[in-house]
Assembly symmetry: D2
Homo-oligomer: 373 residues x 4
């Protein structure tokens, strides 16, 4: 049950960090779409390791499309995208096989898979498994953009002690989001970028790691996507986001800030904007009753500090069944927040695409854009 997700679109992921390959089977993509391979590669490069500020492990992360595409056009049948694992140094991991890495899935994977899990590099629990997700998200986002004009972007709300305010109305333009999606460290405030850089560098130097909060927005969604109760937009999006082991919190609109608000402050008043129904504020983050309102869809995701740190840590040796000290070597990223951003955007796009294509009441591609005004 773990590796398949979706309704109108289905994702099946596979792969271990140090096995032959990782990949995804993406079913439910409509026929006749000319895949923008350049944009797909750009998105995958945002997530790929080996960039400055991240792990020195370099993977080409070159996607091979095995099915569902002919002459660059989707066929309508399932698309299998595979990424070969070429640059693995399993020896790094074998030395610590029996030592549970704190905050990783070593122990829980060991219990669930009875000791047969592929522990090398985290195996199936590795962050590497998110690479094919970025591929799938890029395909969905391309179609959402071409058919509905959907634009996505994110900024770093918080990174260790440095932070900035949430998206304001004036930030939520196609231009700003597009710019953010092209920056290595996307922030709204210019000075935050260098602070973040310094924090990450400092974490690396001190053999430690940091986490953070990313805020993501999608513009130009039609009203009416999603379902009440199960399969609300929040349920679909959070289900995907919480797949990533490092994600420990997800919120929408004003999120946890709602707790300190009164209803009279929190409610978003409706008004008419040239015949279209809109709300003056957007505390609900573009979702009411699980269904998109046509206002920007906004969510926040917290990423815990990278679990792999070089500092000595107390742990248990499962073979010897005694307590030991672990010093993790190998190539690790002191902050995965930057590389996580394209993954979070990909998951948002997949969930929105799924909701759009699952709609069976006739919100067709042709009509859905106009519904919104």
């Amino acid at each position: 049950m773990s590796d398949v997700w979706g309704n109108a679109v289905k994702l099946s992921i596979f792969g271990e960090s140090h096995g032959p390959a990782i990949g995804v089977v993406l079913d439910g993509i409509e026929p006749g779409v000319r895949l923008d391979m350049e944009e797909i590669r750009r998105q995958m490069a945002r997530r790929a390791p080996g960039q400055r500020l991240s792990t020195p492990r370099k993977e080409a992360d070159e996607v091979q499309i095995l099915s569902g595409v002919r002459d660059g056009l989707t066929c309508g049948t399932s698309i299998c995208a595979m990424i070969a694992n070429t640059n693995t140094r399993s020896a790094d991991y074998e030395r610590t096989a029996a030592l549970l890495r704190p905050s990783h899935a070593d122990y829980t994977g060991h219990i669930k898979y009875k000791g047969f899990e592929d522990f090398r590099g985290g195996g199936h629990f590795s962050g590497r498994i998110t690479a094919p997700i970025v591929f799938a998200g890029a395909v969905c986002q391309q179609i959402l953009r071409e058919r509905l004009g959907v634009v996505a972007g994110s900024h770093i709300l918080q990174l260790y002690k440095a932070g900035e305010g949430a998206f304001e109305d004036e930030d939520l333009t196609e231009e700003t989001l597009d710019k953010l999606s092209h920056r290595r460290i996307p922030t709204l405030r210019a000075d935050l970028e260098s602070q973040i850089e310094a924090i990450i560098e400092s974490a690396r130097m001190s053999l430690d790691s940091v986490g953070g909060i990313v805020e993501t927005a999608f513009l130009n969604l039609p009203a009416g996507l999603g379902d009440p109760f199960f399969d609300s937009m929040e349920s679909r999006i959070s289900h995907l986001l919480f797949s990533v082991p490092a994600v420990k919190g997800v919120s929408f609109g004003s999120g946890f800030g709602f707790a300190k608000m009164k209803g009279s402050e929190a409610n978003d008043p409706f008004y008419l904007d040239d015949g279209a129904v809109r709300t003056r504020s957007n505390h609900n983050g573009g979702i009411l009753g699980g269904i998109t309102s046509g206002m920007p869809l906004v969510f926040q995701t917290v990423i815990k500090p990278t679990a792999s740190i070089a500092r000595p840590q107390q742990t248990v040796n499962l073979t010897a069944m005694k307590e030991e000290t672990l010093s993790i070597t190998g190539r690790h990223d002191p902050c995965i927040v930057l590389r996580a951003i394209p993954v979070l955007e990909a998951m948002g796009a997949i969930a929105i695409y799924d909701a759009w294509r699952s709609d069976s009441f006739g919100l067709t591609p042709e009509t859905s854009r106009n519904e919104n005004g």
Copy 2:
């Protein structure tokens, strides 16, 4: 796609606030369980309206079991639980049918269902639909308790300006959780209770509403429940919690607090406790890589302020397509946080039960308890 959820257990909900009945079909409950109807009724009473501090609408909320139970014992076939709607005053709502209530699903439901939605009392979007969920959760929780010793409880972390700290290790005992689950206003600090009471009363007096954050814990889960990636424990639980329109944020363990921590602070060191693998801290909230670790499973849920407030609000009249002022009358709860608690606990229990019963690798009822030490 909206009204069915689950894997080994399946929930199908139905009903509108002012229709003949609401209910749930619960499939996948094992045969031979003697349902504890007294406990089920107690849980449903915690959610029911008509209590002090809540809406004056009184519903007997008496569950009728239509199938799957014979002589008080489950048959193993699907259980349909129905609650008749007996005390509806639709007239309250008809007057405002065309006026969109801010922060409600009136507009998005109207778009999705093309004007055919049952708008009376929120229809299918009403919080009333959570009553059958509490029934389903009580059934799951009873089995989890009997078979695995699982105990659940919650406290109010924040309610408007009043709050208290998160669960500490010493709070996470069966005794404390049990006590909390029997209190109308469950808090860890004694003085918080009267503050909360005053805040809710003040909101009612000022025709306003308040929200809050609830923290919920489950004890005695075996290690090994859940799946990596899709269908992680976090994905399953958040998928259910975000079904409720008022829920706008969900986090696990240290949640959004992870953003300001370093890896060396956030990682939970493993140790051996009389032969069992445990962690000294529990920042990860009992879940690593999507799978339970055997430590207490802890999550936080933010509930937005009740959308229905009596104060005049700016909105749009959909029939006249012009802006108008809306004054909501009818019976409304200035704070649904208290009544939401049994719903959140029910959803946690359903997700855990589903993960337990979906396990197909032989973590059997007989052996799973022992796995944990």
Copy 3:
């Protein structure tokens, strides 16, 4: 996993023959449909017991709609349809509780549900559970007829020793199918009706039972419904039909007759009919590669003889664990073929509706009819 089916439409069934009620939750029906309750009742009457030639047990089988319909119009939310069990004589069954009825699910249900199954009247395995299926099918068929012009009908291909040929091209008209669907014993040859009547009467007199083969056709389906491989139209339809315990074989078009044909005989040549692509023969029963071709969809279903017969039968007493002779008393139908026909048609309609609404590539209601020529 047993009681939920579907993709764009979801069915959740519940109920035991002698419990309080049986019913279905039907999710995924579009909003704004005025349910034709008269036609729904007519279809349910075709299946209901208490008709001539069938069991004397009389059930009003009056459907109560608990949700999803307001003022006779569907809301778009899930529809719960309930039928109360009012005329049960459990005493008939209690006497034989421990004696396994041959060809029934008494033994297999006992193993699966560990002795907690509701054995009275077959419990959840009772044919009575098909009544809500007829309701769901009537709703789907009404929409298929209104939106796409789909017409359905069946005839009895074989009943014990009496039979007639398969549908010929000239039989597959709206008029003929409509007429068949209004006859108690639908046959193409006039003389077959009285033969069938005599066979059933003779089976009743000899305390025995008979089965038969029903052939069902759907006209005016657009080309392009269904999916290749998993979720082919054959897979969807057969999945539903084989839910009924008495169904032991399903075939499409020339079905098992294909075995004795050569490719040059079996292949259906394409031709152009006023600009529309059609086939001269229809051996493939309107389905090629799992997808509708626009030709009539034709399938055959075999119904085994009613398992309950009054003749003494050898069996095992599970309590005493010894062999005994069983004489089934109670009210039983010597031939359920006639009453099964509306169930088979309902299942066909549900599968077709699901395939139509699951299509996410833009075969919209507005355009799909025209696709076919």
Copy 4:
């Protein structure tokens, strides 16, 4: 929705006949199984083209396992098995791209995928897609054999004008089934083999094709697998079998023969066999009420004559929109019945494995074998 199937086990297939590769992602296989690669290759060789009596197209059909297996042992995570397409002669197909091949999915695929389908060699509709299914089935069957002692085998019940009787009780031994599964033309009667060989040769010579009926049996299943109603064993098995475009009929036990039987003949009397409950006859094919009875599970599948025949056929040219004559060249099999047998057995094994692993009521691997006596 088309390319994913399953409950406790999930299959996601991908690939086109002339694309880079075909394959399957198989999720839900338990950890710690040492895959019997020799047996897997033997099963795949049974299906592979290039054998005598079949198409001269030769594919190595060598499976590459990309994930889920380490050092020959399953990890418990999803297994991706890929088969590269190495020996494709697309030129054969390009000449006929616009000409619809009768009895193939060319037309229906064209409508569904709006002209973007990969038509080369049937694309996703090609029989080649069944090769990964055989891989998945071999994995499931290995586990069923090791854990439960399950044995499978098939014989040819009918092939054009030649046929033999159904399995008799004395045929249903492990020894006979094992022998059948090792023969190229598996029959019970010795003389049938040469008749079949002559029929296929004659079909080839006359540029025609033939079909047939295969009967398959599984021995040693525990009682209690499967579910009532939706997800009956018959529903699961037929859902998979009808995925294959050439399969047009599926029946269980006495199948369509039930139509001419009386209840007193058709019912299988229960008796006690050394303390185990068994039935004297097995007309129900080992399934009662959708659940296995512990008797041999027996089903029949009809395979239509190969659609590709070299004889000139009348058809439509979709580009020119006029009628033309088509002469199919390329490499085609005059009878796919022999190569279909391992596919049918694989699908049976997958469905049984899924039912076994979906059981959430505690029929554990350790206890389930004993349930049966």
